[in-house]
Symmetry: C2
Subunit: 321 residues, 2 copies
Amino acid sequence: MKHEICVVNDFLTAAHREKVCAAAERHGYTVRFFETPEAAEGQLGQCEILYSHYPDLLRQAPELKWYCCSFAGVEPYMQPGIFPNEECLLTNSSGAYGVTIAEHMVMVTLMLMRRIMEYQASMARREWIQELPIRSILGSRITVLGTGDIGSNYARRVKAMGAAKVVGVNRSGGSGEPAYDAVYPSARLEEVLPQTEVLAMAMPSTAQTAGILSRERIALLPQNALVLNVGRGSAIDQEALIEALNAGRIAGAALDVMTPEPLPADHPLWSARNVLLTPHISGDMTLGWTCDKNVDLFCEDIENYCTGRPLIHAVDRTLGY
Amino acid sequence: MKHEICVVNDFLTAAHREKVCAAAERHGYTVRFFETPEAAEGQLGQCEILYSHYPDLLRQAPELKWYCCSFAGVEPYMQPGIFPNEECLLTNSSGAYGVTIAEHMVMVTLMLMRRIMEYQASMARREWIQELPIRSILGSRITVLGTGDIGSNYARRVKAMGAAKVVGVNRSGGSGEPAYDAVYPSARLEEVLPQTEVLAMAMPSTAQTAGILSRERIALLPQNALVLNVGRGSAIDQEALIEALNAGRIAGAALDVMTPEPLPADHPLWSARNVLLTPHISGDMTLGWTCDKNVDLFCEDIENYCTGRPLIHAVDRTLGY
């Protein structure tokens, strides 16, 4: 066994590489860096640990014992048979994206509440129109669907801005995060929706989250409801959402994820009423902090792996996160 | 003396009127409400207290003892001879606008940092472009010029979102607000500007603030600097700002106030590089909380006025705020 770590990620700076090398060498591992999956082609035969986000590389690494995904969402890795052996460990980089995605979510919450798209349109015509009725995070009731790193970073920010009630909803109904005024299990989602002014969705793609915001549940939202989604597009019945937006049954939506991506040019979502679309960039790897944290999380688990401790960013492959 | 309060404001709900009446009647005052200055024409002869935002009404109220301005900015009232008598008290509604304007400022900070205008442009073309380098409030150095209600509400929000250093700058160099890591007097502004990533301006229009962000001071800002202004357009050398933006010497600006307002259709500010213009709506009276607070502040000072205590929202007419 050669004790080899391979890194196939394009966002690492020289400082990041040094950090990975230092963590590896402490335990007698060597590290090989590849900028692209093409460069790694045929090079992973001895690889024991792989840090990457290209699922296709897995079948080239027969000796793999641990795959660290540099993304938070790991749904491509849930397909049966994708790992070279069933014992191979999987970790993700949940924890690196909470800050940047939460800042995105605060931004789009305010953009929708403050009618900024309408103001931008009138200003683009060089017209000076004022007095569109606006709303505030202060005093709002906000429901966070998915209370992981991303949802909880958002919850802390809106709570600090004076949201009246921040309710978390997750599988178990529990959370250690004090920013939530209450946390409900997803079985009680229907109770929360009628009192929800902002529904902020930040869930992984799993069998349980697919279609969780169904047509029936969209119908439970009040007319002033805003829907945000930064998790996966599959969580929403997108056709029903478009209908609710266009009929004015809900007030607006900000979607960083949708189905499919990229969205085809003729898709009806583009022209839905009061929808703010962004091209899956809320967790953008161009933010230095995100990259630093991503590498830190990996190095932390190198230490755990090499000293026989459990990997703290381990994904439960039966749950999908 | 008839002990008469006149209210010339169009934003009051029935509940607001009841609240004002209750506060007035407790001390033997009657209240007359007018939706518009036209409706009040010729009706203010006996008015002792006027709650409004129309400076022209002042010369119709010879008996006036206290004018409560429902706006925060009171520069129109600084002209000599505008009051019917020099003893007339002046209060403003500073305190009602901090929340809504701070939410606006957080929104535009993030819109500029996250390149949202560029993303909106590519999405409008139905193009799926990713990977524009973005920045984060977390870890940023933010300078707040003007540490009143508005500036401090913004400071608290960006500090809660993890800004690395929040420096306040004001006339005296002091502030009781704990969100500031440091507060400097405006004489030391030049020292702060080179380390400023976001310069957030929230100052009243006074002789001291006019032109405070001069051409020379703009030149001290680093190339990644973002400039926000929600105070008054007169605080900035606007021509120099446009030049700095267009030359790429600073990164962007979000201006809710400018000179003149409304901005003429052929003004070069419309097409300056990476400028986000809004039509002086950050302190929009359509936000319920702002209106509630505005009325609360007035009622609080009715109590003070009638019991002979100092008015807590009094404007120092020599300073202009």
